[in-house]
Symmetry: C2
Subunit: 342 residues, 2 copies
DNA sequence: GCGGGCGATTGAAAGGTTTCACTCACAGCA
DNA sequence: TGCTGTGAGTGAAACCTTTCAATCGCCCGC
């Protein structure tokens, strides 16, 4: 692919020539305007617009050694949860005078790695990532090669990274306690793949609450999906419907709202009444949960706050020589709505 | 803000020294591995991992003069419509061996300009943008200064840009024809601000269809909102509810699904039955429209296709000296669901 | 044994910016 | 008059990579 060969854009040198000043002065206009007299400044600025000068960020960064951007590699841009987190990050970045750029890994490890690599090569000030696998060695590789990196919405078992997450075990517990309170004694847990930390921990919390309620293990039925999107929820619905009535759960706790919405759709499509025949609890409390066919009970995570906190940690890691890693864990909250009203 | 001063990351020079080869050879390993003998290549690669070498993209780009990324400035990252478009762009970018980075303007013109500027300074191969205002001179300024730019989901009145959009006049017409078919004779149009091209054209289409059905102008009631998010929809709902019953529309056509979902929520909250007392048509057919409290009738736009086509035009503009600007216009389609079932 | 050819490697230049020590001119002051 | 201080502007070096012409060995064929 050849770039259409315009008259290669103007450089500071051209501007300097056109304004009749030295190259250093042009740079001063750009970076320390107070150092240069009003008259010359005006002349230089004039020359810049005349020539259509665009500062070459590569050269700037190469010489100055510092970039003005943060990058966030999202796990799934289609899930509003992550865009809300990004929103929070952006607020903090903007306050610090930095730009935020986004990339989507779409749950694919190799794309995540490629994006991280590219950003590292671009020498961004810092990286935020909601990783496909928080234990992956690529993360430490990136950080060891010199770019501050904060894990968002996940935690690493060893505490070698700053991370910001929500207590998923507690979240799972809240969901199940709520369902148990409502009298359910056979409940499905919908989520997967089971390797996902999120899923594992939410299930773990669910199991504990279940056991503490004195209910038999076998009656908390795991429905393992390949992913956590709407489609996965629909499939789970089909599987639930396929169960003999005697063994069919009366409620489902879904590992996130996308899945819960899929399950809800499939239930409605099959004529199953929600919540009477099937109660549903989701997770994340995305904006669309409240607007769902049956408004969804969900475990709310402080999304924007998650992003802000993550950005805060990242800025500290990037700027503070005495930085020490922290794992911030927020507390989730159950929002009860129609989908579990009995 | 000072960067924590690690041992400034290794450069090709360090790698060369460590591997006992010249600097040019290291570069060859990086860029034309076939030129260098297996033995040296291995030695160099070894040195790279030992030293934790990370190629400096700024320097690369400065010298090579070419970047490997495309950028998309989204209008509203919280609206799934745009993330779906981004998805489509990414597919095309990936196929061309380019990375896509995203930014969110959040409907703020100055942030849009700032992002465009930054990307232009970074010398991205090309820019895609869903602008706050497609007529804004900043867009032509950016392009005139040398970066290919394609407008997504909007069109410019003069045909000076490549753009990809959907026929909004037709979309508005489809929505209204559908409602008229269902017997509605007083309909609200919810959307705003009225300056938005989208809004204006959808309303225009609506008006034409309305007139052609022989219905009086005054009975197509515009409810102007400040934005197109869920909150705006809720407010519109309150305003509708405040109307005297005799003048209250029996249906609403919303300029997008976010607004429609807000309106739906507010209607349900107020005990208004949908569709019996208020039918609703949305626009975009985002994934959540089908899963809404009352599944939403909506005008579907080919989102991913929009993105793919935009990326295609951009790549042509960037790579083809004989490029000529094109305005691609896709055709929308009405998806009927419960919210207008009578 | 020698010239030619070939693959592998080298060295220096170039790319656009920032930085910093330096010069210049001039005003103020003794 | 001579000196100092100051504000404005200068020029060259440095940042790290890629590129390309040039060099170096070495083998082949005669």
């Amino acid at each position: 692919m050849t770039m259409v060969s315009g008259p290669r854009s103007a450089s500071v040198k051209d501007v300097a020539a056109s304004a009749g000043v030295s190259l250093g002065t042009v740079s001063n206009v750009l970076n320390r305007p107070e150092r240069v007299s009003a008259a010359t400044r005006a002349r230089v600025e004039r020359a810049m617009t005349d020539l259509g000068f665009v500062r070459n960020e590569s050269a700037r960064q190469l010489r100055a050694g510092t970039s003005r951007t943060l990058a966030y590699v999202m796990l799934d841009a289609g899930n509003p949860f992550f865009t809300d987190v990004a929103q929070g990050i952006e607020v903090a970045a903007e306050a610090a005078g930095l730009s935020l750029v986004l990339c989507n890994s779409g749950q694919r490890g190799n794309r995540e790695a490629a994006h991280l690599d590219l950003f590292q090569q671009q020498r961004v000030q810092g990286l935020l990532v909601t990783p496909v696998d928080p234990e992956s060695p690529t993360l430490s590789a990136v950080r060891d090669r010199g770019t501050p990196l904060v894990i968002v919405d996940r935690t690493r078992d060893d505490a070698t990274f700053c991370s910001v997450a929500v207590d998923d075990v507690l979240g799972g517990r809240l969901a199940i306690e709520h369902l148990v309170d409502r009298g359910h004694t056979r409940v499905a847990f919908v989520g997967g793949p089971s390797g996902l930390g999120q899923v594992r921990e939410r299930l773990e919390g669910a199991r504990r609450a279940w056991a503490e309620a004195g209910l038999p293990d076998a009656d908390l039925v795991p429905i393992v999906t390949d992913s956590l999107d709407v489609e996965a929820g629909r499939e789970a619905g089909a599987r639930l419907a396929g169960l003999p009535a005697s063994r069919r759960p009366t409620a489902a706790f879904c590992a996130n709202d996308m899945t819960a919405l899929g399950l809800l759709q499939s239930a409605i499509g099959a004529g199953t009444r929600v919540p009477e025949q099937l109660a549903i609890v989701g997770y994340d409390d995305i904006q669309f949960a409240a607007a769902a066919a049956v408004p969804l009970t969900s475990v709310r995570q402080p999304r924007a706050e998650l992003g802000r906190a993550a950005a805060g940690l990242l800025l500290d890691e990037a700027g503070n020589p005495e930085h020490i890693h922290q794992q911030i864990v927020f507390t989730p909250e159950l929002i009860a709505r129609e989908s579990t009203r009995t």
